[in-house]
Symmetry: C2
Subunit: 189 residues, 2 copies
């Protein structure tokens, strides 16, 4: 007979996971989410986002007790004062975090106990693009390489399947690899 | 005659900006950058990236005196404990930060003094995609809306031109709007 602790795997409550999946199957309208960020320029390359509210399950979320504050910046060579990671580095973090969480959830669902998940990410960029000096280079990374190191209680083949499935289902991997339609509106009050 | 303070606009040293552009024109090899992130899983949806080293101007950067630490998480409804913004929210922040910095740099180069730059971002997602419940939905955001509010000492038309140029040159806007090739390697030691 299952006990409460049996349902926790990799820190994920699999009973809650399956309950969520069943609830969405019963009422797909609860699967519509909207995530948000607000950003304010401070000075030079220093700007700050605050993140808290989001929409999910047909209502505004009220569960978060605090807002998250994220400071961005640039290093000296890109005219900043290192007030935070730069935006491209934040994108690498978003990608690493999403692949890792997807991997941990997939492993939990498949009965794989993980003991270690680490990744290193690298993105190559020729800044002649973003600086407007050459049309030969795009503005963003030409390529991103992600290297995972995964340990757990499953055979190598199963661990690799878990990573592959995570890549197939990661929200940020999908967005970074395939792109997203973005519209930009401007008010100049 | 220009004084030192005259070269600082919007917190950006325009003399350094033009110096950087001239240096790259003289030796384009210094424009090759590589940015990096390292991520480690902690528990459940909680993982942490550290960001510090990068490659630029034909060498490893040594200017950063500290590493940046970023914690990711998920809210309760997505099986986490709010240990940080979730990965998709980090992507919105990366996009907001890059558009804002691009806008501030473009304005500095064009002689526009900004007094306020704020933005709100929203991304819509049906989580049936990422949860593997339906192939009708992609994993990531279906669409991202960015709304800027920009004030400065230039006519509305010029402010709008600055935003449009920033969008054309933003590294993260390019990546999010157009996608980037990503390769994922796995070691299972």
């Amino acid at each position: 007979m299952a006990t409460t602790t049996d349902t926790i795997r990799n820190g994920v409550d699999t009973a809650q996971l399956y309950g969520t999946l069943d609830a969405i199957k019963a009422d797909p309208s609860i699967a519509k989410f909207q995530f948000r960020a607000r950003n304010r320029w401070i000075e030079g390359a220093h700007n700050r986002s605050t993140i808290r509210d989001f929409y999910a399950a047909n209502q505004e979320d009220t569960s978060r007790t605090q807002e998250f504050v994220l400071d961005a910046g640039e290093p000296a060579i890109l005219l900043g004062t290192d007030t935070g990671p730069n935006p491209a580095e934040y994108l690498l973090h978003a990608l690493a975090a999403c692949l890792t969480t997807s991997l941990v959830y997939v492993a939990a669902a498949r009965g794989v106990h993980l003991t270690e998940v680490e990744s290193t990410l690298a993105g190559d960029m020729d800044v002649e693009g973003a600086l407007g000096l050459s049309d030969e280079y795009r503005n963003g990374f030409e390529h991103i390489r992600v290297s995972f190191r995964v340990k757990g209680d499953a055979p190598e083949e199963k661990l690799r399947e878990v990573v592959a499935r995570a890549q197939q289902r990661s929200a940020v991997f999908d967005m970074v690899a395939n792109g997203v339609p973005v519209t930009v509106d401007v008010a100049t009050p």
